[in-house]
């Protein structure tokens, strides 16, 4: 966002005060602050994390976007870059990290695996896309996405932040959406607590289907 856009008051400022006073809307200044200092969680899952580090290094220089401050603690981060294959064993930890991040928070699914399972989708320990559990803001395709693609994805996220309004974003609503994502459990297979009734019905159906041929 250029300073011109930021400083668009809709009021006449006297000439002698033009270089001293800037008037803008709360949304604009707030969004400008947020989008220019998105601190990602220092959190790499797999191959994509290497390209994420490469994007941080001198050639691609994420610092240009105010995103060079990677925080290892979820409490200090705004953005979760899910960079790599999400496995069932890792998923409870990822959901817990997401719950621990303070709002406003954003999620980027980087690469094919995080977006939908990618080449490993059919694997028995692989979660086919992080969007089955967390709300994703931007998907970046690629296996792995090049640093350019990542930077483009981050610019898309900035555009999204630019379009937000304090009145409408979910984290400032009354009775806010601080509902945590329930943490999946590692049982005989991965159990999503939100789908327990469904799993129960299906398993019962399967049991019924299995007993009928035996009865005949």
């Amino acid at each position: 966002m250029t300073p011109n856009e930021l400083n668009s008051p809709g009021y006449d400022i006297p000439d002698d005060m033009k270089n001293v006073v800037a008037i803008t809307t709360l949304d604009k200044i707030y969004n400008f602050g947020r989008r220019s200092s998105v601190w990602p969680l220092m959190f790499g899952l797999a191959c994509c994390a290497i390209e994420m580090i490469a994007a941080q290094a001198s050639r691609y220089d994420l610092a240009r976007f105010g995103m060079e401050v990677m925080r290892p603690s979820p409490r200090q981060s705004d953005l979760m870059l899910v960079a790599g294959t999400v496995t069932k064993k890792m998923l409870p930890a990822i959901v817990r990290l997401y719950n621990q991040m303070p709002e406003p928070k954003y999620v980027i699914a980087m690469g094919a695996c995080a977006s939908g399972g990618g080449p490993f989708k059919e694997g028995y320990n692989v979660v086919a896309g992080i969007d089955k559990y967390l709300p994703v803001d931007v998907y970046i395709p690629g296996c792995p996405p090049t640093p350019q693609a990542l930077v483009y994805g981050l610019i898309k996220l900035q555009e999204k932040i630019d379009g937000q309004s304090l009145k409408q974003v979910r984290w400032y609503q009354k009775g806010a959406d601080s509902v945590e994502v329930p943490i999946p459990m590692l049982g005989p297979d991965l159990i999503d607590p939100r789908r327990i009734p469904e799993i129960k019905t299906k398993a019962a159906e399967l049991a019924a289907a299995a007993t009928i041929p035996n009865a005949e």
Binding site: M42, F43, G44, L45, A46, C47, A49, I50, E51, I53, A54, A57, S58, R59, P72, G84, T85, T87, K88, K89, M90, A93, L97, C113, G117, P119, F120, K121, E122, G123, Y124, N125, V126, V127, A128, K132, C143, P144, T146, M185, L186, G187, P188, D189, L190, I191, D192, R195, I196, E198, I199, K200, K202, A203, A204, E205, L206, A207, A209, A210
Partner: protein, 582 residues
Amino acid sequence: MTTPAPITTQFDLAEKFPGTVSADARPGYAGWIVAPEKLTEVAIFIRDELGYDLLSSVTGVDYLAEGLMEIVYHVYKTSGGPALVFKAQLPRLDPVKVASLTPVWLGAELQEREIWDLYGIHFENHPDLRRILMWEGFDGHPMRKDWKEAFYDDEVKPFKSRWPEGKHAFAEDRSPFGDNVSFEAGFDPEKWTATDPEEALYATLKKYKTVVKDGIATDHILVNMGPQHPSTHGVFRAVVMLDGENVVSLKPVMGYLHRNHEKIGERNTFLQNMPYTDRLDYFNSMSNNWPYAMAVEKMMGIQVTERAEYIRVIMAELSRIQNHMILIGMLMNDLGAYFTPALYAFEERELILDIFEAASGSRMMCNYHRFGGVVRDVPAEALQKLKDLVFERLPGKIDEFDRLLSENEIFVSRLKGIGYLSPEDAIRTSMTGPMLRASGIPYDIRRADPYSVYDRFDFNVAVRYNGDLYDRYLIRIDEMRESIKILEQALRQMPEGPVMSVKPTYQVKVPAGEAYGRIESPKGELGFYVVSNGKPNPYRYHVRAPSFINLTSLEMTCVNEKIADFVAILGAVDIVLGELDR
């Protein structure tokens, strides 16, 4: 078609152990079949009398049709030479049991745990037989041939649902639970009670105790580092028992990036596996392709063209250089010199990746090797860039690393004498690569069991004798210099010619048999054990990952060191999670 050299030149085990050991007579197979009840006895003989001191790889294979489970052991001499392969065949009863070889070679520890996890073969007298890649409580042993994943489509690719008619449906719609999960019929999640999967893990650490020191009662504390921790290079986790700052005991926990390479690999056709190997050690996709291509080429009995061999060597050595640079940069990160050294390393890495991109079309996931050569020649422009890099730029940059870091007082005092690993322990725990050579064992597969055209180059096997962190750092610098030497010679000697010895096809015909291909990857011995039954898909596809097996010695090197040093010790092992968990 045997593993490195014909087995006939070796000692005749069948004569020594009549009735216990017999030669593996299946067509395409080699090695010895040992009666399971005499396994330990034969193994001790192989180690002590024949001198095969390095247990490289332990693999499980499920021969469902024959009703057999087989365990394949590859052992080597650290003085060099081809492998000795022996196998134990177990009836596929419940439970499948065999004696653990950890008392003979400690390096079997993690590998046997993996086989227990994925195949459900019970190793008796194993010190710590728990699941390793999946979690405790997971239903089933997924690598068994009769175990099907939730998104199961067909035994082998190409899947009939997608080809030739192409009636593709989302796997989510096919699976009864609408997701990549499967539960047994009648499973009731409401009645299921969560048992703590970590209980068994914590029980293996030294029991919590209070000791009185200088009149003060001190508790041991348990610290979990990872899976989300800035120092664990990804999603590795270590559980550490601490006495103050000192490590009392430590257990590595892995599987957080277990993405089922082997199960998927057995559904893929031979060529389809090539891009998957890229994603194992994602720093070195160029050298990951190689042993897999080598194993399949062995079975197919095809040669690689001269020029392709040179290109392979060049690409592998380039990736070794960038790997070691990144390693040193990241090691400095771990020691607290946050990101500046890593930036130096990434600068060079980008230049090397440019060459990979020009040659293969992709920066990181190169997918460059094919059975019989490489997919395409290196463009002339990239070759010129490569020459500039190797002859002009990189040697100076390696010197720069050396000059900036090697004598740095803080760096040296953090590394010298820390994380000692004796040569005996290094061999016992199946260390390979820089870890082994920094402990004074000059074992480098490029020399010990030369493959490709490495016997034509003049280079030294880097070796250091102190076995501490500082030597593990120095050996990387040494190796980069040797790699430059190899690169210079290879670029001078490289002949013109085709880069593929056979006509490129999507579907290769691989005769039935087994093969083990291995190279000296930047992290150690990277091996692929591939079994074919003549069909378009590998029957068994196993990765012998150096990152994984090099962790066997982690506890040994960390005990009695400070917790801050654990971070550096782990950094110097050079793990990559994609390869560790596969």
